[in-house]
Symmetry: C2
């Protein structure tokens, strides 16, 4: 279906030859710059000029790097001679005349090199402008104004927000959003105060309300006790925390060359995508014995987030978000606050994305990078077995963290990529922000005689049960591209030797996954150790060179697998999947997720049951949280943390931090304490 459009090439080259900046890129995976965004916009608006008739202005839904082939990147990266980076191509998804377009722009040629109309199910990521436009529609909609009036609310204190509607088996879908509204009088904590029962449905192509419901009136939860701004709270304050900082002699302790970070024994590239958020690429670890950097992670990012709510009633049943594919985890990044979001030794990076009009938007301080020392111990030992000698040898643990916070509506996700000198990559996720509340008629659980699908947190305030599933794309390249996936099962064995009075022990039964079917894993059922190994290389004692996956808290989806939203989120059915590398398989829930039907997820891709042994493979890992809200989550949630670790497992011949010296504690001279 590709409809290549070549005629722009010559024209655009002439026009923009003065502001070429493509070749100035340090790295082919660098995020798109504002000038590149502007260039893309100009090129696309030439091809799709606005028409005076309604709805015919092209709208940018996704503008991202069309990554070069992996082989191209690797040969650029590892070439002995300095070669210019491969050409920059930008992949655009746009809405135009009620259709979804996929457009590829070649920046060096300054032209569209491919475009097609997407004919499949689902719709592209929502841009921010259209969400805002939809959210203000109720204010000029008579029945809504009536609803506000009926509730005795001041309409100037009402704000509305948009919700994706999912798919429930409809044969034909439109591009719809639901709008729900909140009250801000007396508190900015709007999520605590919904206009429950009121719901507008917006046709996004027409940008108008096509359905409206005012089902019932319940009391508006009080503003009292919901405020979270220190400036608005009244004494007493507490608990009182005293001054504390991470202190370094020379911050930053890492080097930033463009977007490439080098620190201690690590080197990696930090990218940004409007949909995925942070992308870590080409992470390599320096092997002191081999005296070279060795590949670990070609590319890692959050591919999708699935957040299903568990209230099946008429006005809540559809509530399930795909925070990446529907709302854009990258465009939801919040500017990080120095000293609170990140410690005083942090450095910050901005991020840019294209808005609905194709214009660049800056997110200042979207990333922070900092060296972390939490008082932890990297390794230690005290030896007292040798007469007349006590040996104590200790190394403190210092790590490097790359952080982004993405605030998708009410929830704030703290996303950390932490690099450890021991070779581990720890991925941390913190959940904080504000619960989604359903207003009810109850003030005490004693009045509740039915399932309210949540916890009563305060008067009329129900914190709805829900889950968070985060699916990570982890293209590990363990010491090279050709890898295998190994399941080591710890199995109980019976002792056969009659002389031995012991009856049993456990041992390791190792299986290498041949095809995708062998690598679908629900964690927690058996004691398993999982690793991606390089079957073409062995350590000196003959072990497979690998990295293990150390899961954090394990959760499984609890909805039925044939339920519509779960079909769309079928990528959460297993905690682990392994696929052969395929450039087009990036988004676990599919490219067009809004109103998708589950026909483009890992679950469908892996039905082909492709071979994955000694191939370039991708590990997909889903971390999950079931969230039963508690009163401590009201009116704002203390961070709930989880994560996982990629840990070298027979990757090094020995402990890679054996020869690390303890850093000196930082202290200044001539200080007034």
């Amino acid at each position: 279906m590709k409809n290549f459009i070549f005629f722009f090439i010559v024209f655009t080259t002439i026009i923009w030859s003065s502001n070429v900046e493509c070749s100035s890129h340090l790295h082919p995976l660098d995020p798109i710059t504002p000038s590149e965004i502007n260039l893309v916009r100009t090129i696309i608006l030439k091809a799709y000029p606005p028409e005076t008739s309604k709805n015919s202005t092209i709208a940018f839904q996704y503008v991202g790097l069309d990554e070069p082939q992996k082989s191209t990147i690797l040969s650029w990266k590892y070439s002995k001679t300095k070669t210019p980076p491969p050409a920059r191509r930008i992949y655009v998804i746009a809405r135009f005349k009620k259709q979804s377009l996929e457009i590829i722009v070649d920046l060096s040629r300054r032209s569209i090199v491919g475009s097609k109309v997407y004919k499949g199910h689902g719709y592209p990521m929502l841009n921010i402008q259209e969400q805002v436009a939809a959210s203000v529609l109720p204010f000029s909609y008579g029945p809504f104004k009536e609803s506000v009036k009926k509730r005795g609310l001041n309409i100037s204190e009402v704000v509305c927000s948009d919700f994706s509607v999912g798919w429930f088996g409809e044969k034909k879908t439109k591009r719809l959003l639901k709008i729900k509204c909140y009250y801000t009088e007396g508190s900015v904590n709007l999520y605590m105060r919904p206009l429950e029962g009121v719901e507008a449905t917006v046709d996004m192509d027409e940008m108008k309300i096509v359905d409206y419901k005012d089902r019932y009136v319940v009391p508006m939860p009080k503003a009292e006790g919901t405020e979270y701004r220190a400036s608005k709270l009244k004494p007493p304050f507490g608990p009182i925390l005293k001054d504390i900082s991470l202190m370094q002699h020379a911050a930053p302790a890492f080097n930033l060359h463009g977007n490439t970070v080098s620190w201690a024994n690590w080197e990696f590239h930090v990218g940004f995508d409007v949909r995925a958020g942070p992308i870590i690429s080409l992470a390599s670890v320096y092997d002191l014995e081999m005296q070279k950097y060795r590949q670990v992670l070609y590319r890692g990012f959050i591919s999708e987030l699935f957040v299903p709510y568990q209230d099946p009633t008429e006005d809540w049943y559809y509530t399930s978000y795909f925070d990446s594919g529907e709302f854009g985890f990258g465009q939801s990044a919040s500017s990080l606050e120095p000293l609170t979001d990140c410690p005083s030794n942090a450095e910050f990076l901005d991020a840019f994305f294209a808005d609905a009009n194709g214009k660049p938007v800056k997110i200042p301080n979207a990333f922070c990078i900092f060296e972390k020392y939490a008082g932890d111990i990297m390794w230690r030992h005290t030896e007292v077995a040798i007469p007349n000698e006590v040996i104590t040898e200790v190394r403190p643990d210092v790590t490097l963290v790359v952080r982004m916070v993405s605030t998708v509506g009410n929830y704030d996700y703290i996303i950390d990529w932490e690099f450890k000198p021991s070779g581990s990559i720890k991925v941390g996720v913190g959940l904080t922000g504000i619960l989604e509340i359903k207003a009810g008629t109850y003030t005490n659980t004693e009045e509740v005689k039915e399932d309210i699908y949540g916890t009563l947190l305060a008067d009329y305030t129900i914190g709805t049960y829900h889950d968070h599933f985060l699916t990570y794309y982890l293209d590990l390249d363990i010491d090279g591209e050709h890898n295998s996936f190994v399941k080591n099962t710890l199995e109980t064995a019976r002792v056969k030797d009659r002389k031995i009075p012991r009856k049993s022990y456990w041992t390791v039964v190792s299986e290498t996954a041949k095809t995708e079917a062998d690598a679908k894993i629900k964690l927690g059922l058996k004691p398993l150790e999982l690793a991606v190994v390089n079957p073409n290389k062995k350590t000196k004692p003959g072990n497979k060179i690998g990295y293990g996956l150390i899961p954090g808290s394990v959760s499984h989806p609890l909805m039925l697998s044939d339920d519509f939203q779960q079909i769309r989120a079928a990528f959460t059915n297993y905690n682990v999947w392994v696929t052969p590398y395929n450039k087009s398989e990036k988004w676990a829930g599919g490219l067009f997720v809004d109103r998708s039907r589950g026909d483009d997820t890992i679950a469908t891709w892996t039905q082909r049951n492709r071979e994955i042994e000694n191939k370039d493979i991708v590990l997909w890992y889903t971390m999950g949280f079931h969230h039963v809200p508690s009163q401590e989550d009201f009116p704002i949630m203390p961070t709930l943390t989880s994560g996982f670790e990629l840990r070298p497992t027979n990757f090094f011949e020995r402990n890679p931090v054996l020869k690390t010296k303890s850093p000196e504690p930082a202290h200044w001279s001539n200080c007034t304490k």
Copy 2:
């Protein structure tokens, strides 16, 4: 069987009236002081004077606080008028004339107030002197000297260590230990270099070798590559870590009144026991709204550690340690190194225990306490839904850590109790130190045609598979002593309303455990949320006031449950048990664990199936690690961390850190950076 001996009372009162110090104790749970240890020794040696015949000197195996009744402690603690702390009583286990004695000494009366001979199975904790005495026996044992000579080793470079022997169904047992030996020529990393095949059995009552085996000779693993002291390693060093510190204006940020710590909204007592190590008592959290401290944890400590190795061959099958009950987790505490074991803002506490002769031994810097700031976020939110207003409100997370490191032979356990202003208590365990190695004939896995029960880490060096199970005693008193244990199961439900296109959702099914049988839980089988609640108090909206248990990595024992060592370690059969509080039920594997038969474990106590609803209850939680060694663990292990969290769950009416202000970052004036 208690054999009270009263006649000492008057006598001892006269003698020691001058050096009374008992009443000077700040807290009835304070650890035993050196003077108290001396006093106990004097009192006991009067009653059991040494005899000239062999083996009739009393040996102190355990000297610990005989805790006052909980009701006594609580009424002392919460009495409105200042009352003197209850009398100090010391509980002693000693070996005398090949018998185990239990003796209670009343320090204010300066007398023995109870003593009995223990007639049950098993033996007391090993003291350090007898372990040393056993470990040197081989050096005067001819056949051993022959074995060393046969291997061409220099006996002055051989050291030996002692191993508990367990129980394998023997009808009659003796107090035996096995001795294995290691080579230190060229490296202090002795555990890497066993004299494999050589094993002496020592009768501890006779203190002589009663059996000796030299089964086979395998190559001695090389010293090369096993050294871990920076001073002995050769360049290149790396990865290079730069100066970094936790910095505070005023350290410590906590108050230490005796052994009672108060910090932010927490108050708790830090104790020490020669067997258990650190004991946290009477932890209460200040409720800003109620303006009072509320009880959380009456007493928490590691009750037992079970470390079974998975090599079932003749010279390894018995290898399973009970690091608390056999070796004394407290007496194994290592002195913490400032700046490496703990950050620069840490304060240190010493610990004391009684040695074999009843004399006090000091462990300098056994504890450190420090405020921790790891760059984490306590809570945050960015709000963009309100027109013309961006709200960002963030609080950094600062916590307080109490740390002890216990080095039981080769392994170093980092034990952290971390208190969070949000009301959580996080318990962290780090495993580091040195693996236990079996020497084999292999240099490459290709030569291996059988199960070697471990990972080949280097030439002739097999890291044996093993587990670590740590069982925590958690006497939670959630806002009072009478508590219940609640299991909330997340269950899939079908949507019944035909109008709703969704098919399913999950909801919470809550069960309160009536008896001990209801509270035996293997985690991971079902999605569960566990909490200890106070059924007599409710929050304003009517929720049960509680604390949730958030498990870390979940592991189950893999040995058969009727295998002898597993019978002894039956307390690991479930991750969670709940018992009614019983002062005598402290040690999950029994009081006399060495060679125990499993007749005094949680598994046997709970067979009575006592009522636990609305009672003073104790939660027992077992954290487990299966350890398949990797080459990165050689020659010293990077720390592997796990833990669990006790998290307020409808304990507070709202987020208890809502009104916390961000601490200022610490900085000095007049500094030369």
